[in-house]
Amino acid sequence: MTRKLSLSEAIREAMVQEMRRDSNIILMGEDVGRFNGAFSVSKGMLDEFGEKRVWDTPISEAGFMGIGIGAALTGLKPIIEFQYADFMFCAMDQIVNEAAKLRLMSGGQASVPVVMRAPQGATGRAAQHSQSVEAYFMHTPGLQIVMPSTPYDAKGLMTTALRKNDPVLMLEHKLLYGAASPGGGKALTDTTISDIGSDVPEEQYEIPFGSADVKREGTDVTIIATLMMVHRSLAAANELENQGISCEIIDPRSLVPLDEEKIFESIRKTNRVIVVSEDIMRGGVTAIISSLIMDKMFDYLDAPVRRVAADDTPIPFGPASEKKVIPQIEDIKTAINNVMKD
């Protein structure tokens, strides 16, 4: 049976159901217990599982990340919540040098089954609470990265993540949570967010990593997008439908591993592609994916791959500036029109 769930409810349901099944899973992070999490994702979990499974930590990202790794090496499966993705940089050594490298350094003796969760994306909170961090971690072999754009995907990807034996990073978009912050009044929202994928089954299910999802079928141009950009691309595609342009939208759902085949299959049909991401242009995810397409699909392309990404700047506070820096529906429409003209 399915019900409508918000993204934060879907993530919580996945964690709670798997924690009931697997007593080795613990949750750690800042304000995740008594306060229910800064975005309410862990609401009620301290009450249900108690203090030995839900750990309210001090503000010590490197410390509790390392503790999570030590726990993972010795039989537990910690879920580590970073309050904002930007704060992960405090724990960079533990994530990059330890969690990601331990399996190889130990010749396969070590498994580090930690699931890191972090909210990202620009929502008027200025430079240190807005960054999209996926490229840093895509550059870190040993990690796997999932990015759910819908509640359905979030539950399935989280369930899969909790059954992996390697470190997984789930990046979540603050605008997609659909729930109010306990301290912050009303829910963050954006009128362009589609309600696709909000029907979520009650029972547990897994979405395998490396399985992209076609969020919209089309024939003229392929749009590859993640998180909030899936929703902006859907809005752009709906507007362009009236002008006779048929867009297909592919959400990779996991950046590592990346479902190359589903992306290539779409390109074989459309022969035109744009890549959209909220992280920055320079050294970003769009650069990695478009070079992959150029390497392996050049013969199928009728036009150069176009990229839509954030400007190469820290995210500014002023709303007009933030809006200009972050890809909007208009930017995606312009890129589609350009790739159609090429």
Partner: protein
């Protein structure tokens, strides 16, 4: 810069109340650590060994005193200078030596080398090449023992340089806050590469660093193996019985340079000569013969036994199959990812 004189630190080596077999084990472990590294040094000189290494010559009593107070299933984290810690935790010499030679039958399958030795079957969770990185990981192993209810204790070895890293403080705070069964061991060899304690630490009494977190700190003659053993035994017992963490400062001396052929000419010659006279193996041997526990002849036999063990380990390693070019592929993830980009 005033150097620490061994005379100010040295305490008498107590041998009362120990089984002869236990004293023999302590000596054997120290001799193995020393001989292992002496042979490595020779192998590097003759360019038979790839990579680099950091010797703990003169620091063996810390490794052996601490590890000998632990149960086989207790946990240890180590450092870039970690051979002696592994040997003290009974990691097989053959497997360690094969790892040094980058052989497939190495303890880490030739993927880790000197700085990443580990053996999960013996609670040896890893030598970490990043200073301080093992501190939160040991803390996490201790947390895991509480969650799983196993009564295991974790000990973390780190140098005097590591106490200036943030994770040292973050870990001590959480360990005290949550009363975790962990023993923190500052292996104070008095130099962080070229920098003596008094040029990098605002306080000269490093064991006092625990007081911010309400963790008792104890200063020990680190070249006195039974003194280190006794102090650790008390700390381990306390931790196992729910008494929380302890900080041990074992004062010792790095007889050699920082790494391989580093000459350490930033040190006063007289200082080095004084400390050589307080060599922990020399002192322990003297005590053993003075108390008529062993004769010179007995000791010579032990020397020969250890020499044979190390020679056998070298032979084992040399016979091992060399790491192949593609070996690493199986150790990046639990199962190789699709879409490996190359």
């Amino acid at each position: 810069m005033n150097f620490r004189k061994p005379k100010e630190i040295a305490t008498p080596i107590e041998l009362e109340g120990y089984e002869k077999s236990f004293l023999k084990l302590l000596l054997l472990r120290m001799l193995r650590a020393r001989e292992f590294e002496e042979q490595l040094y020779y192998l590097f000189l003759t360019t038979q060994m790839p990579g680099t290494m950091h010797q703990a010559t003169g620091q063996e009593a810390v490794a052996v005193g601490v590890a000998s107070a632990l149960n086989p299933d207790d946990y240890v984290t180590s450092t870039h200078r970690g051979h002696a810690h592994c040997i003290a935790k009974d990691v097989p010499l053959n497997l360690m030596m094969a790892e040094m030679f980058a052989r497939r039958n190495g303890v880490c399958k030739g993927m880790g080398g000197s700085m990443h030795l580990c053996d999960f079957s013996r609670g040896m969770l890893g030598a970490f090449g990043i200073v301080g990185a093992g501190i939160p990981i040991a803390t996490g192993a201790a947390l895991s023992s509480i969650v799983r209810g196993t009564k295991q204790v974790a000990a973390s070895f780190f140098g005097d340089g590591a106490i200036n890293e943030g994770v040292f403080h973050e870990s001590l705070n959480m360990a005290a806050l949550w009363n975790l069964p962990v023993v923190y061991v500052i292996e104070n060899n008095q130099y962080a590469l070229s920098m003596p304690n008094d040029l990098v630490s605002a306080v000269s009494d490093l064991s006092s660093r625990g007081c911010s977190y309400g963790i008792p700190g104890k200063k020990i003659d680190g070249n006195n193996v039974t003194a280190v053993y006794e102090a650790t035994k008390n700390a381990v017992e306390k931790a196992r019985n729910g008494g929380g963490p302890t900080l041990l400062e074992c004062i010792t001396y790095r007889i050699r340079g920082h790494a391989r052929f580093e000459p350490a000419d930033y040190r006063n010659k007289e200082e080095v000569e004084q400390w050589k006279k307080f060599d922990p193996i020399l002192r322990f041997r003297r005590a053993l013969t003075e108390h008529s526990i062993f004769t010179e002849k007995d000791l010579k036999e032990l020397d020969e036994q250890v020499e044979d063990e190390i020679n056998a380990a070298i032979e084992f390693a040399e016979k091992g199959e060399k790491v192949g070019a593609d070996d690493y592929l199986q150790y990046i993830y639990e199962s190789p990812l699709e879409g490996f980009m190359k």
